[in-house]
């Protein structure tokens, strides 16, 4: 290999000279939107890696030396079109190459002249469902892949269910290997019809079905008119370019406080990323959980002292009066407050091999707020039937509903209304691993919850700490966790 001259290396690396998109060139023009994040899901042999490889290849996101490595590594595995094995481009870990499967989420980047994209490539195997949930948590759209010959599989239904649960409201159904199904229109129509019904049952109305051949590059970036004159819909890239971004923020102003900045005399600012609504100087806000009210004095950034900030902006907020604000607090619109309380209902995706154990105390982190929580699973989703079955335990990869009971005030919006302030993770207090992802449904205030009881119906007992620990471990205490509040131990001044 000789030393390359960048400015004279514009020769195309494969046969697709006619590709209308030049990724890098497009990327250099200022883009009018933030990157669209999407996820691809499919069963093991649906050709998912080939699809993403094709997207990267045809948008020129693969560079020459990467292609050379690819060609070297895929010796003997080239397909009939003389293209390398795209899967090797994506499966970056040695274990993945050895086993020929995708284990972990990989993030890939490409651009057209209209938009830039971040694709989370997630594993197809059932045991890696949790990785799919991880990829879906930040995605605006899901591309679900099926093999035209096999049609909708149970795994397709699972993936659609998880994607919908994580809040994705735009689906693309890519009916792949259509070339191997003789480009048969009736076959494509039947599969799309079946999928639309599944999507509707999950509350997803925005569905685009596209017949594609990832291998041949038909209807991915380039049209497949020659082979499929009956299809006049968009290509995959055209759908992605036009997809809407989930803002999902129908709540008022939210600023989870990450840190308090006190660089010098007279300056006290609250730093965080706006997680909902917008704000301008003079607006009235409430600090939660304290409930203290104040007005916004200034919105400080490195570039400017600004006259407004919107969702997504990383800012430093200055209030008009000295109030007590700490990391983990939330500054919110005074007239559109989030829910506060000690008991919430949520949906959980169990991520750890140990599952989610009833009555165990976990750390919960939401935004910058971390607090202790008692978790009690109540139902688990049967991904085959779509039913919620009663359950007290969630095994790994399990999806369920649970009751959360906090020792101090928690602050949330429903996930449906705000993905930032309605999401949380659970951390195991011993291993410190992330063991679940969660989405808040809402505050729980029905009978049986401590806070819902009238004062007259409550009584207190005081126990030595060691007895209390033993009591809390009993089945009885665990099954009534929501009705018990633990205080103390009391601080006694010894004089």
């Amino acid at each position: 290999m000789s030393s390359q001259t960048l400015s004279h290396a514009a020769q195309s690396i494969d046969s697709s000279d006619e590709t209308p998109l030049a990724g890098a060139q497009a990327a250099l023009a200022g883009r009018q939107a933030r990157p669209l994040r999407f996820i691809t899901c499919g069963s093991v042999d649906d050709g998912k890696s080939t699809l993403i490889g094709r997207l990267l290849w045809d948008t020129k996101a693969v560079k020459e030396d990467q292609a050379a490595t690819l060609r070297r590594d895929s010796t003997g595995k080239q397909n009939e079109l003389g293209l390398p094995d795209f899967a090797l481009l994506l499966d970056g870990l040695q274990a993945e190459r050895e086993q020929g499967i995708t284990i972990d989420v990989a993030y890939r980047y490409f651009a057209t002249d209209r938009r830039s994209f971040i694709v989370a490539d997630t594993p197809g195997h059932v045991q890696y469902t949790r990785n799919m949930a991880t990829g879906a948590s930040t995605a605006d759209l899901a591309v679900l892949l099926v093999d035209a010959r096999a049609g909708i599989l149970e795994q397709t239904r699972r993936h659609a269910t998880i994607a919908a649960l994580m809040g994705i409201r735009q689906f693309v159904l890519a009916v792949n290997k259509i070339d191997l199904a003789d480009y048969e229109e009736a076959r494509f129509r039947a599969i799309s019809r079946e999928f639309r019904e599944i999507a509707l049952s999950l509350g997803v109305r925005q569905v685009t079905a596209i017949p594609v051949s990832a291998l041949k590059g038909e209807n991915i970036v380039l049209r497949g008119d020659g082979a499929m004159p009956w299809y006049d819909g968009p290509t995959l890239v055209e759908v992605l370019e036009k997809a809407t971004q989930r803002t999902g923020q129908t709540t008022g102003f939210r600023l989870p406080v990450q840190r308090v900045s006190r660089p010098g005399e007279g300056f006290r600012g609250y730093q965080g990323t706006v997680a909902g609504g917008s704000i301008k100087p003079g607006d009235s806000v409430v600090v939660l959980p304290s409930g203290v009210e104040a007005n916004v004095k200034a919105i400080v950034t490195y570039d400017l002292v600004r006259n407004a900030a919107v969702t997504g902006d990383a800012i430093t907020l200055v209030l008009d009066r000295p109030v007590d604000v700490a990391r983990g607090d939330m500054i919110a619109a005074i007239d559109q407050r989030p829910q506060t309380g000690r008991a919430f209902n949520a949906r959980l995706v169990a991520l750890s091999p140990d599952g989610i154990v009833p009555g165990k105390r976990y750390w919960l982190k939401a935004g910058a707020r971390r607090q202790r929580v008692m978790v009690r699973p109540t139902a688990s989703l049967n991904l085959t039937s779509g039913n919620w079955d009663d359950a007290t335990f969630l095994s790994v990869n399990g999806i369920g509903t649970a009751e959360l009971d906090f020792e101090d005030t928690a602050i949330f919006d429903a996930y449906e209304t705000n993905r930032e302030t309605g999401a949380f993770i659970l951390i195991d207090p011993e291993t410190l691993n992330t063991v679940a992802g969660g989405m808040i449904d809402g505050k729980r205030s029905r009978a049986g919850c401590f806070d819902a009881l009238p004062d007259a119906d409550r009584a207190s007992i005081t126990l030595p700490a060691r007895l209390l620990e033993a009591f809390l471990k009993t089945e009885f205490a665990r099954s009534h966790a929501g009705e018990i509040r633990v205080n103390g131990p009391e601080q006694v001044d010894e004089e």
Binding site: S2, S3, Q4, T5, L6, S7, A9, I13, A22, A24, Q25, L28, Q32, P35, K63, E64, D65, T69, L89, G92, L93, Q94, A95, R97, D104, Y107, R108, Y109, I118, A133, T134, T138, Q258, R259, S261, P263, G264, G266, F267, Q271, T273, A298, T301, Y302, D303, L304, G312, A314, R327, L351, K365, A366, A368, A423, F424, I425, I427, N433, T434, G437
Partner: protein
Amino acid sequence: MNVIEHGRGKPPLDPHLKALENEAIHIFREVAAEFERPVMLYSIGKDSSVLLHLALKAFHPGKLPFPLIHIDTGWKFPEMIAFRDQVVAKHGLELISHTNPDGLRDNVTPFTHGSARYTDIMKTQALKQALDMGRHDAAFGGARRDEEASRAKERIYSFRTPDHAWDPRNQRPELWSIYNGMIHPGESVRAFPLSNWTEVDIWRYIQAEQIELVPLYFAKRRKVVERDGMLIWAEDKRLELLPGEQVREEMVRFRTLGCFPLTGAVRSEATDLDEVIAELEIATVSERQGRAIDRDQSGSMEKKKREGYF
């Protein structure tokens, strides 16, 4: 206290870069708030320059609440060291420069020990020493997922064992923008605020924000010698020519910066930012192509990361 505005009169960033900037600032603030002794790895290159710029933005109007570490192998381009010292002085930063004393003592060089062992001793081991000495529980790095296949799988908070090892098969799930910063004593986290940036994003951001760079990124007539298909900078007398090698003066620039014996130059006429970006538009090779250490063996980045490399 008067708050300085650095961006008066500058056009606003496009929404794409703004989103990337916001995400990076969020990560900086989160790590600084959650860890006891964070530090930032500063390698003087373009990604580090962007990383530093974002850090300054994240903590404005305050100063950086952590020091910078530079791993000095002794084989960096002199222009890099000069630029580093200039940047440190300009922003009033705290810089820790560390060189592996064992490697110095044993006279470890890229020529005598081969690029793989040299990189392990002078970069990976040196980094681990520096992090251990400072008892740093979090270290910011400028790695991007688009750089290399194993990095594409790495989390934004990359958990490391007390030996600084990365276990790619057993990573913590990372959902939404909620980061798990809880670790046991001795464990640490490498945090990557630029994870979702691409090379083109870096250059466009440098242009939009007018970030200063080491002049080595721009084309100039420099003395080079061709070796193993790479153009090696030949203005340091420690570089011994092999039989048949000839030093030539050529118009070249560097697309990434590291130790000069391991960093290949590219022939280029791009003498300023606009021209560099124009070249990128038609570039058909990735930037790491000029890095000898990536080509030692297949999957070599994953191997190095498992051993504690950034």
